[in-house]
């Protein structure tokens, strides 16, 4: 047998310079241009609508605020017209836009690896001199940055669109339906879904199931963030005052009696019927007209924990931060998987 002579051969290729990174730019664009232009067209159509609709809303709001005297009937009409027309429209827009980050992230991210693995072309792409680890990095990182930048720009427009509705300072800016549409979290969720989809594509190796898995993972994560995580980014304010600011995002409420926990969030029916019955005859009866007062008279105290609206930007950075960290981690894991075990 020919004796295997392996060691110390590595050093003889010092002149072997890697293929320059920039050569991947054309490849990435050529292979993902439909996904990217599709996403751009989708965002562009939304942007046109938001711009036109936003201009009207800004004008209507400016007219309402410039109205003098503010307490006049005509001015009140302008304000209620603004709220009825544009307020309702902005809420519809908010509910439609909720899934946009997930859709864009999943549709751009899932095919990056899944399509190569599904069609077998990874055997071609990953055996060229560029190298598969660098290939994966050169695809995922520019796509992630491009997506984040484009969606970030879009969410700047979105923040402008929503400005009139938050201008009077009476909105719950932390409410789940609007929190992720403004600031940095819109782009951060897009980035995170992109990273989830890329990893799902590497693991599942098929485009459509990878998109489905990414959307499911996004839904789970977004629900967990809205229901459990976000309320605890910073310690909530706990108070037994009944005059909460209108902008407060209430996390929870509970009752105490004599300094110990009684029940949450509302009294049990049996207790309510016993001590504060709301009977037909009760209407007009000052003693039982307001159940809150009635319970208070029986020694119960209502407590709230809430997040003040001043936490909006800290929360944006916290959520954007952990989503960015998660995305970096997932992309690193994907690259590691490609490097370690392609088949």
């Amino acid at each position: 047998m020919t004796a295997p002579t392996r060691p110390a051969r590595q050093q003889q290729d010092p002149g072997l310079r890697p293929v320059p990174w920039r050569r991947m730019a054309w490849v990435t664009w050529r292979q993902h241009r439909f996904a990217l232009t599709g996403a751009a067209a989708f965002l562009g159509a939304w942007a046109v609508y938001l711009w036109l609709s936003g201009l009207q809303a800004h004008h209507a709001y400016a007219a309402a605020t410039a109205c003098h005297p503010a307490s006049s009937f005509a001015c009140g009409n302008l304000i209620s017209e603004f709220n009825n027309t544009y307020g309702a429209r902005s809420e519809a827009v908010a509910s439609l836009l909720q899934i946009v980050p997930a859709l864009i992230g999943a549709f751009v991210g899932a095919p990056v690896l899944a399509r190569e693995l599904e069609t077998g072309t990874f055997r071609y792409a990953w055996t060229l001199a560029f190298g598969r680890t660098r290939w994966t990095l050169a695809k995922l990182v520019p796509l992630a940055v491009t997506l984040a930048a484009a969606v970030g720009a879009f969410s700047a427009l979105l923040s402008w669109y929503y400005a009139p509705f938050f201008a009077d300072g009476n909105q719950t800016a932390l409410a789940p339906t609007v929190f992720t549409l403004r600031g940095v979290t819109f782009a951060a969720w897009t980035l995170a879904t992109f990273a989830i989809a890329a990893l799902a594509g590497m693991l599942i190796r098929r485009v459509v199931p990878a998109i489905a898995a990414a959307l499911a993972a996004y839904a789970g994560l977004a629900l967990a963030a809205a229901l459990y995580l976000r309320g605890h980014y910073l310690t909530p304010v706990v108070t037994s005052h009944q005059n909460l600011p209108v902008t407060a995002w209430i996390i929870s409420q509970w009752w105490t009696k004599d300094g110990t926990f009684a029940f949450a969030p509302w009294p049990p029916d049996s207790l309510a019927r016993r001590i504060c019955p709301i009977s037909a005859s009760g209407i007009g009866n000052p003693k039982s007209a307001n159940p809150l007062q009635c319970f208070a008279q029986h020694g119960y105290t209502l407590w709230h924990s809430y997040q003040p609206v001043s936490n909006f930007w800290p929360f944006q950075w916290i959520e954007g931060g952990w989503l960015l960290a998660l995305s970096v981690l997932l992309i690193a894991a994907t690259v590691w998987l490609v490097r370690r075990r392609p088949t």
């Binding site: 295997p4 290729d13 069609t119 055997r123």
Partner: protein, 304 residues
């Protein structure tokens, strides 16, 4: 220099060894055929050589001691995988562009000239090309990289006879004029005689025999004689007995000078018959050397 050098190589998928105790050295400058039935481990071996699969046991180096998948190995090896996976949605021109961008060398003029010769329009998408044209496109891309080693996994399995002939002609030309070493896998035995000058027979995950075709043919003979006496021949190792009614043909490991028993006639062996005999009679070794017997080391040794 050995373009592929494996020792004790094994790859396990679950409980099945796709490759087991595989020891092999393919020297440079050959068109080597990796022959074996479906499931013999040919694709696994090629995928390990190109860095797409990590071995479970043993090791393999390419191009004179380089690890598979290392920059030098990727630079020097062009791989055409089974079913010639080109990007179906890309045009031939885009495939050229992509391949040129992702390699240190790419002979654009050669690639364009060859595609013109083959009548493959540059602006046509790969999905619109025939199977033979797709295979030729993949081969052209591989050769335009000016590799030192060309690995082809079942390149002609899906092609009609004419396309198969054209494809092999391209491979032979490249090997002859550019000195490209070639290792191609195939379960088709015909035509190999014309193409390959080095043979690796793989069956059930093991190397049955490997060596230059000329050496293999010189060290094997076919003895034809009465079937009743077939079991009595013990002078030289018998690889396999082909029985046909009253007559039997023995493939034996013997040279032209070895004695022929009375009543028997000796013939030179053809590559196809040699391959069939080894594939029908897989090695039953326990040693892990992949050799049917001690004297087989003779046939497997590579001396260049």
């Amino acid at each position: 220099m050995n373009v592929v050098d494996a020792s004790g190589l094994g790859k396990r998928y679950g409980r099945t060894w796709a490759l087991h105790h595989c020891t092999l050295a393919v020297p440079a400058g050959h068109i080597a055929a990796l022959v074996g039935p479906n499931g013999a481990g040919k694709t696994t071996l090629l995928n390990i050589a190109v860095g797409l699969v990590t071995p479970s046991a043993g090791d393999l180096t390419v191009l004179g001691g380089r690890p598979p998948g290392s920059p030098a190995a990727l630079d020097g090896i062009a791989f055409v995988a089974q079913d010639t996976p080109v990007y179906k949605n890309l045009s031939a021109a885009d495939m050229l562009h992509l391949t040129r961008n992702l390699n240190r060398r790419f002979d654009q003029a050669y690639a364009q000239a060859r595609l013109r010769e083959l009548g493959i329009p540059l602006n046509r998408k790969a999905s619109k090309l025939s199977g033979g044209q797709q295979a030729q496109l993949a081969l052209t891309l591989a050769l335009a990289r000016r590799p030192r080693l060309l690995l082809l996994d079942e390149p002609v399995a899906m092609l009609d006879p004419i396309a198969r002939h054209d494809f092999m002609a391209t491979v032979i030309t490249a090997a002859a004029s550019d000195g490209v070493s070639v290792l191609l896998s195939s379960h088709v035995l015909t035509e190999l005689e014309r193409v390959a000058d080095f043979l690796v027979l793989l069956s059930q995950g093991r190397v049955q025999v490997a060596g230059p075709v000329a050496d293999l043919l010189a060290t094997h003979r076919v003895l034809a004689g009465p079937a009743a006496e077939a079991d009595r021949y013990t002078e030289r190792p018998v690889v396999h007995v082909f029985r046909d009614g009253l007559r039997a043909r023995l493939l034996v490991r013997a040279g032209a000078g070895d004695p022929v028993p009375p009543g028997w006639r000796a013939h030179p062996v053809g590559l196809e018959e040699l391959a069939l005999a080894y594939l029908r009679a897989p090695a039953e070794d326990e040693s892990g050397a992949g050799a049917p017997g001690t004297s087989d080391a003779e046939a497997k040794r590579v001396t260049t």
